[in-house]
């Protein structure tokens, strides 16, 4: 079972990565050029039909894969790094500091990502993929930090940590060799969940003009622009929707499978 989910995840994510890399060197059509009639249904020439302006839709979905992975990886890396660091520090902090940090995190979690994104855009040169990643990454880090803090506290309460202290290990080594490996499986899965949410969050930011500017449209933007023509050309919603679902599902399967593989308590002896 766990092998199956690992394989399904690896295949789904693998296809996405392959397509994303492919778009860097080759595209079936010029994404900005009119390639056929408007709102054509799927055909051999246009696998996902054409959009309102007659551009090949499949090409746009392919580019969307690259945007989705960039946002997901960028936000997950940023959020994971900040979140894990803050979470571990807060687990070690004195009571007062820990409480203050916990309260800050709670405020940050309650703070809408959208508002955060607007602040980030206002503070930088304007909306770009980078600002979207930054905003989503910061929002993600607050959620991860809270999880990491609780997980770390739980590990720190174990006797093997006390034993490690009595073995002469400093706190830095204890975090590296005992805490991080033991919290990794759960944090990994949480990051995967956030990865999916990040791709979706980017879609809503794009809709408001806070995401990547065209022509590099994300799946979220495709979904939004296909909204008005959903009854005439349902493929406009189905294609990016399926792609988004496949990627998010694939990441979750992959994380699940990896967690079981990494966990000696559950894995094979």
């Amino acid at each position: 079972m766990r092998r199956t989910s690992l394989w399904i995840g690896a295949i789904l994510v693998g296809i996405n990565v392959a397509v994303a890399l492919l778009t860097l060197v080759w595209l079936p059509y010029d994404p900005t050029a009119m390639a056929g009639g408007r709102l054509q249904p799927p055909s051999w020439a246009h696998w996902a039909g054409t959009d309102r302006l007659g551009r090949d839709y499949f090409t746009q979905v392919m580019i969307g894969a690259r945007i989705a992975l960039t946002v997901g990886i960028g936000a997950a890396a940023l959020g994971g790094l900040i979140g894990t660091t803050l979470g571990v520090l807060s687990a070690f902090a004195q009571r007062g500091i820990d409480d203050a940090l916990a309260a800050t995190l709670d405020i940050l979690i309650a703070f809408p990502t959208l508002l955060l994104a607007m602040l980030v855009v206002a503070a930088s040169d304007g909306a770009s993929l980078g600002t979207a990643i930054l905003a989503i990454g910061i929002a993600m880090s607050a959620i991860l930090a809270r999880l990491v803090r609780i997980l770390t506290k739980r590990v720190l309460a174990q006797d093997y940590i006390t034993a490690a202290r009595c073995s002469g290990l400093g706190w830095g080594r204890i975090v590296l060799v005992h805490v991080l490996p033991n919290i990794a499986p759960t944090v990994l899965v949480a990051i995967a969940l956030q990865f999916g949410l990040a791709v979706i969050a980017e879609a809503s930011l794009s809709y408001l003009g806070l995401g990547a500017p065209p022509p590099n449209a994300s799946w979220g933007q495709l979904l939004q622009s296909a909204q008005s023509t959903v009854y005439n050309a349902p493929i406009g919603v189905i294609a990016p929707g399926l792609a988004l679902m496949a990627l998010v599902l694939g990441i979750n399967f992959l994380a699940d499978g990896l967690r079981d593989l990494l966990d000696p308590e559950r894995g094979a002896a």
Partner: protein, 250 residues
């Protein structure tokens, strides 16, 4: 000279006093049992002896000098002098480390002499586990075997003192008896401080004992004297509370 001693130690946590005026001394070769119920402060005494906490008042002395837990060289020396064994064999081993790494970790961190791998094999043999245990994870072992691994880890530093916090109370009866036998054997070379709520374990392992009630030592001395003629009402009550096997009828 005592191996470890506490002098007029007071300790509290979050405004709650836990230990009041505790003084005791551990002499070479005279394993000491600390008997007390939950909340008596017995585990706190171990934490102070291990240098994991500092007394609010009074001093902890070990190996002839005051234990200053802020001094790194002093603590490194102390780690080689005393080693702990904990109650719960399921939380005292890192589930993500193979036994080899668990055993060599203190060897490396404490910069001990000799080859880490050879030392790991030595302590594993000392606790009666086969050499092929080194390449397994803790989950492959039963509670009693895990406790042996935890004892092996403590032995790697060749400590003079072994501090054991309820080392057998989480174990099944037959396993318990075998681990007590192991500790008895080890106590020939290493002086044991044993914290327990179980008089039988203290009686089996420690020639000297103290009785702790709500952070105070109410009675202390030779175990055989205390068991034969307990002076303090609390000790009397503890002994009267023991349940017995039915007498063997001829």
């Amino acid at each position: 000279m005592s191996l470890i001693s506490l002098r007029d130690v007071q300790f509290g946590y979050g405004g709650q006093p836990i230990l009041h005026d505790v003084s005791l001394a551990l002499e070479q070769g005279e394993s000491l049992g600390i008997l007390g119920e939950s909340g008596s402060g017995k585990s706190t005494i171990l934490r102070l002896m291990l240098g994991l906490a500092r007394p609010d008042q009074g001093v902890v002395e070990a190996d002839g000098s005051v234990l200053d837990i802020r001094s790194r060289p002093r603590m490194q020396a102390h780690r080689r002098f005393v080693q702990p064994v904990f109650q719960d064999p399921y939380t005292s081993l890192d589930p993500r480390m193979k036994v080899r790494r668990i055993l060599t970790e203190p060897h490396v961190a404490l910069d001990l002499p000799g080859d880490a791998g050879a030392e790991a094999a030595r302590v594993l043999d000392a606790v009666g586990l086969p050499a092929d245990s080194l390449d397994r994870y803790p989950r492959a072992f039963s509670g009693g075997q895990r406790q042996r691994i935890a004892i092996a880890r403590a032995l790697i530093a060749r400590p003079r003192v072994l501090l054991a916090d309820e080392p057998v109370s989480a174990l099944d009866l037959a396993t318990k008896v075998r681990v007590i036998e192991l500790l008895t054997e080890l106590a020939r070379d290493i002086t044991l401080v044993l914290v327990s709520h179980d008089i039988a374990i203290v009686a089996a392992l420690c020639p000297r004992m103290i009785v702790l009630q709500q952070g105070r030592i109410v009675e202390g001395g030779a175990t055989r004297h205390i068991l034969r003629a307990p002076q303090h009402p609390y000790t009397q009550r503890l002994l009267a509370s023991l349940q017995h096997m039915p007498e063997e009828t001829p």
